[in-house]
């Protein structure tokens, strides 16, 4: 966050840095009532007006920024020309393969969703090559749609549930898909439309946490754990406003933290893991809803059914959700004791079930987190919704352009 400790101030890369700085000012201003002018950006950054103007011209020329109609300000002088992100020039594409669905999402440079599609279906019965071919086709169709309206696609990021060697792979292990050491990017780019684009892979729980962060969710917290419930359970850990990925990018494997040392066997090879108590299948089983029937309906329908039964007061379903919440709360409390974050976000299937799962999570957190009496931990449902991972994948593509427009200009 400060100048690197072993180097004096540098001048190389200054223009690239300042280009990103100006674009960030425009992006932040795009969300306010008064889009910033060149003069506003100069005042906010300390850069000269001439430098700002030259950088803005580059960004306008690249289709990333647009000039709004001049608006007279209250003070004297020329009307100011507001600047905003241009929504109709560059898009980002997110894909997702999860246990019981495939998904695609397209966002524009402002992060607004232009297209999304979820196709239910059990991916465990397919080979990685088949599942990835299908999701690549969903992506190719979405990309063709963008190009037909004159937009450029900046890249594709795919969300996967497991140990991912981000950003280029391979996927090491996705226990619930039964995948191991899969060259995801190689298989995806067999699809010709994707072959010419930057394609990266990332962990679905990390991307879901990023979606929450980009959306300014988590109650505005910058230190939170975002827990994504699916058939598996993953977490994205945001510390001081940044996703914490870990030494190999494998942080947040909360689904394999133990609830009981001698608990039931898990697909990971160990036993007593959280997934066996609070994963989607465990909840369906405990609720007495046949897992096979539910899974063949697709995850979201099964969760809708559970939510409907809970809302109707079905005692077995409510007990199942409270039990899952207690196990989740036990493990989440441990994570908060370790990480000292102030907020826990319930995402994935936990978001629509938060009314019944949340109180049990909060009770364990209140009871077990040592610092809770001095600094209560907030437990809240995701503000993004159940498709946070694929949304986060798409948004991470455009975020890459916003963070480093110089590279995008070079590549485009």
């Amino acid at each position: 966050m400060s100048t690197p400790r072993n180097e004096p101030a540098r001048t190389g890369g200054v223009r690239e840095h300042n280009l990103a700085l100006v674009l960030r000012q425009v992006a932040q201003g795009s969300r306010t009532a008064t889009p910033p002018s060149r003069a506003d950006i100069a005042a906010a950054t300390g850069l000269t007006r001439a430098t700002v103007s030259s950088l803005v011209d580059v960004l306008v020329g690249a289709g990333l920024v647009e000039e709004l109609a001049p608006v007279a300000r209250t003070r004297a002088g020329r009307p100011a020309t507001g600047l905003a992100l241009r929504a109709d020039a560059v898009s980002g594409v997110g894909l997702e393969v999860n246990v019981d669905y495939l998904a695609v999402c397209v966002v524009d440079l402002t992060g607004a969703v232009r297209h999304r599609r979820v196709v239910d279906g059990d991916q465990r019965t397919r080979t990685p090559a088949t599942a990835l071919r299908r999701v690549a086709r969903l992506g190719a169709r979405a990309i063709a749609g963008e190009r037909a309206t004159g937009r450029a696609v900046a890249g594709v990021t795919i969300a996967l549930p497991g140990l991912v060697q981000a950003p280029h792979g391979p996927l090491r292990l996705a226990p619930n898909l039964g995948w191991r050491d899969v060259d995801v990017v190689g298989l995806l780019t067999r699809e010709p439309t994707l072959a010419g684009l930057p394609v990266t892979i990332d962990n679905e729980a990390d991307l879901a946490a990023l979606a929450e962060l980009y959306a300014g969710g988590a109650g505005g917290s910058t230190s939170f754990v975002h827990v994504s419930g699916e058939v598996g359970i993953g977490a994205g850990i945001v510390l001081d406003g940044r996703l914490y990925r870990g030494r190999h990018g494998w942080s947040g494997e909360i689904g394999h933290v133990a609830v009981r040392p001698d608990g039931p066997a898990c697909r990971c090879g160990a036993g007593g893991c959280l997934e066996q108590y609070a994963g989607q299948e465990a909840i369906l089983r405990a609720a007495g809803v046949p897992a096979d029937a539910a899974t063949s309906m697709g995850g979201s329908s099964a969760v809708d059914r559970i939510a409907g039964l809970a809302r109707a007061g079905h005692p077995e379903v409510r007990a199942a959700l409270a039990g899952a919440g207690a196990a989740l709360g036990l493990v989440v409390a441990g994570a908060v004791n370790l990480l000292d974050v102030d907020t826990v976000v319930l995402g994935g299937i936990y978001a629509p079930l938060a009314e019944w799962i949340g109180p049990a999570v909060a009770a364990e957190v209140d009871r077990r987190v040592l610092g809770a009496p001095w600094a209560p931990v907030e437990v809240r449902a995701s503000s993004v919704g159940p498709d946070a991972a694929v949304l986060g994948a798409a948004r991470s593509v455009v975020q890459g352009v916003l963070d480093d427009p110089a590279s995008w200009l070079t590549a485009a």
Copy 2:
């Protein structure tokens, strides 16, 4: 790690930054066979020779750096004057109150230990005021000794087992001492010798991890969890070469992560916490060594006795240590699944017991950490020894001088 994202390059604070940069070069070079000259530092930092010379003069004048006898180099030209940290001018003092002992440690600017003392005794029977008065007197005597030899003391840091509002307090909670909301700095500075010095408080497990980091321990890893076993159990989390403190400074409360949801009651108010399975008293109890007798002997003697019995092959003691290791391993595996660190360091009482506890920890980690087949996690004993916390406290004082010599110059 890079220039702050919302600010262009600044010039304010450059001299302070460069002063620290030069001192860091001297400190790093002090550990090598060829102490750096002014010219070496200019070459390494990109600063001009004139700037380096002027900054070195300031550091020499302040007693932080000394010029060694000129040594002829192989190449032509004047003999180079090597620069090194000066050991006999500035010291740092660490103090510690733990459940069954008080400690003091003094280090010089190079981190070498000049003095250390541990006084065994159960602190739970004393009020915070009494325990802190006693440890302050230990500190005052050590400070008097430093001053008698012409050294300046840069400050005092006290290590405490619990939730600490670093750096000035209060201590919120130390469950095993029975302390709650204690104004530690206020009580310590009733001792006149301490009243005129910068006095800070910090968590003992965090300081033990810092001692390991400063010593280049953890097998050279920069992403590790250091677990300190005492009557309580704490962890210090080092991510990418920096101690991760958390939102309130309360990270690493691993002793209150659950092993079993329905396990025995804990002093924290919850139940099934790791301390009840792998804390010092739990180990003594399981080993059949009377806890009262052991505690009145002082912690280190009790641990020596356990280690002796284990070495002699005592089956009950070995089973107790393996059991504690399995519980510790279960929780540590969860921490590694969350944090994706590559190394776990066993500190405090676990270091001398590592021969018997370590294998059980490693077995659980191998079994439960999802990424272990691709990136094995190393479990190793602390390289620092059982008084790592008080050593880390003393070293953190001199590290403060090394990190920010300008502030020390202003204060001195």
